[in-house]
């Protein structure tokens, strides 16, 4: 079914003197994996809490599946939340935790048990039902929280930095699993994170939030390749700005440009010809950083300014890399990779 799962209009929320959400308009489609990405204090969690109903907006309107829910309590909304700290009930078993939402809705006991077990199986926790949350690891608790929120098959699932407390390896595994589960159950996921890589790898679409406002909404590729503001350019990926005089001299027209480091080729050999539709700038290598799979070059441009370039280590080794320091290089990129930003 193609439709709107969530629609936010002119949403504002302040806490005392701090404005957490300063006018947010947003539409999230049915069945979408939608991420809200932003640094802490950008208002992403507040937007999530407004949608869940834990906070009441000062102004604006919240629609779930076309129905105005702005004034409704959390228990009147067809959304479930996976909390950052999981918020599992410590006095209940894993199974009771998962079945709680069904029990509250008066689902018969036998059906409750079957569905709770099925939900636990979905997240890979068969047989963990009789345990207490305190007996589980962080990753397992995370899965229980997910099963508890999914078992009632809400229209929308809200996830508040659910992977934040996990270590890197587990986090990467859960990213893949979460995405797989979402595809399987077909529920709209609204995923709040400050981790740009997480947002880029998992989402169908991303909203980047900056100081209570939406800076850009788009697919991961759109957000990454064509950032709409300097903030988005710097928050998502490494920002690499070419501005002022240098920008004018190199590109031929004034403005501020963002070029992703991996789009820039580092050419050592002066004999290599300039390719068509490419821009070339010359400079001196100020610093070289060996990253294992890649090497990062910081190049001071002759025309002023500094650019970072990232090269895959196809044949180079760390020893070769060090030799680059202080040498003259040419940087080259395709026209379309220099993205002009509004000033």
């Amino acid at each position: 079914m193609e439709g709107r799962a969530i629609r936010l209009q002119g949403l504002r929320k302040s806490f005392g003197d701090t404005t957490a959400v300063a006018g947010v308009d947003l539409e999230i489609r049915d069945g979408e994996f939608f991420s809200m990405l932003g640094p802490s204090g950008s208002g992403k969690t507040t937007v999530l809490r407004l949608v869940a109903g834990f906070e009441t907006p000062d102004r604006g309107r919240i629609e779930l599946a076309g129905q105005d829910v702005t004034g409704l309590a959390p228990f009147e909304r067809d959304v479930h939340t996976v909390f950052q700290d999981y918020a599992l009930f410590p006095h209940m078993t894993v199974e009771q935790n998962v079945a709680y939402g069904l029990k509250v809705r008066r689902v018969p006991k036998a059906e409750r048990l079957v569905r709770a077990r099925k939900a636990l199986a979905e997240v890979g926790l068969e047989g963990y039902g009789p345990r207490r949350p305190a007996q589980l690891s962080g990753g397992q608790r995370q899965r229980v929280a997910l099963a508890r929120a999914l078992v009632g098959r809400p229209r929308v699932l809200l996830l508040d930095e659910p992977l934040g407390a996990l270590d890197l390896k587990l986090r990467e595994r859960m990213q893949v699993e979460l995405k797989a589960i979402q595809r399987e159950v077909g529920i709209t996921f609204v995923f709040v994170t400050h981790d740009q890589e997480e947002a880029l790898t998992m989402s169908d679409r991303i909203a980047v939030l900056d100081r209570g406002r939406i800076a850009q909404v788009g697919t991961p590729a759109e957000i990454y390749e064509r950032p709409a503001t300097p903030f988005v350019a710097s928050f998502v990926g490494t920002s690499n700005l070419l501005e002022g005089e240098a920008a004018h001299r190199i590109t031929g027209s004034p403005g501020t440009y963002n070029i992703r480091p991996e789009k820039i080729r580092v050419l050592k050999d002066a004999a290599e010809p300039d390719e068509p539709e490419h821009t070339t700038a010359t400079g001196t290598v100020a610093e070289v950083v060996y990253l294992g799979d890649a090497t990062r070059f910081l190049v001071d441009l002759d025309g002023g300014g500094r650019l970072t370039a990232l090269q895959q280590n196809l044949e180079t080794s760390s020893a070769d890399v060090a030799a680059y320091r202080g040498t003259r290089v040419r940087l080259q990129w395709h026209h379309r990779h220099a993205v002009r930003l509004p000033s």
């Binding site: 869940a52 109903g53 834990f54 309590a73 959390p74 228990f75 959304v79 479930h80 939340t81 909390f83 700290d85 918020a87 599992l88 009930f89 410590p90 006095h91 709680y100 939402g101 509250v104 809705r105 508890r148 929120a149 009632g152």
Partner: protein
Amino acid sequence: MTTDVPPAAGRGTVRRLAGTLHRRPRLRLALLLTGPLLWLSVLYLGSLAVLFVSAFWTTDSFTSQVVKVWSTDNFHALFTTPVYRQVVLRSVGVALAVTVLCAVIAFPLAFYTARVARPQRRPLLVVAILTPLWASYLVKVYAWRLILSEGGLADWMLAPFGLSGPGYGLPATVLTLTYLWLPYMVLPLHTALEQLPAGLLEASADLGARPGRTFRSVVLPMVLPSVAAGSVFTFSLSLGDYITVQIVGGKTQLIGNLVYSNIELNLPMAAALGTVPVAVIVLYLLAIRRTGALNSL
């Protein structure tokens, strides 16, 4: 700072002593616990033992002298005399009523101080709840005697509704004891409610639970151990009390009064009566141990 000054002799001794203690954990433990253990075993357990033993003695009915001959007559009397049975049941009933009343009054109060009031104000509110404990017990009970007296504050306040105060008697006793022991219930409840993660209440609402359901399924089970912990105080303090009932209880008799009135005439009987609250409280503790309350004391 100069480095060539030798350490003072006194400090050296202290250092050596500290070193010795560090190397001998058993000595450390002995120093720590000898005093308290002596107090506990000799004074506390010793007097309990004396109480229990003397409950099996009898009294010469002419001279009121204690006769140190073993007999179970006192306990026999305790179980067969209707008055004694009534008084024991009444005392337990009063203790239970006070406990329930304290819990019912303390919960909304603690909920306010722990979750609703502004965080900066909370310590002040807790202190306010505890201030009655700084006043003398007798002053408070006599204040209640005045409030409940005929034409007193209670009568005056209820008069517009065509009612009168409870006067002196059993209800007055329960009321006064509830007032006296309420802080002991509020405090553990306040702590429990304050530590209750807000996320759990939100999670419950998020999963579709109305406030009543959240209260029954999440809040209550999580603070129940603390209610039980508070009830240990309200229950045992009420069960052992005999002064309040003398001042506001009218003719009401509780175990404490019987013990008190028997001490001069029949010490062994008083001792037998005195074992009843001890036994009841042991049973009570065993019962609530199952709630896990003793871990949160």
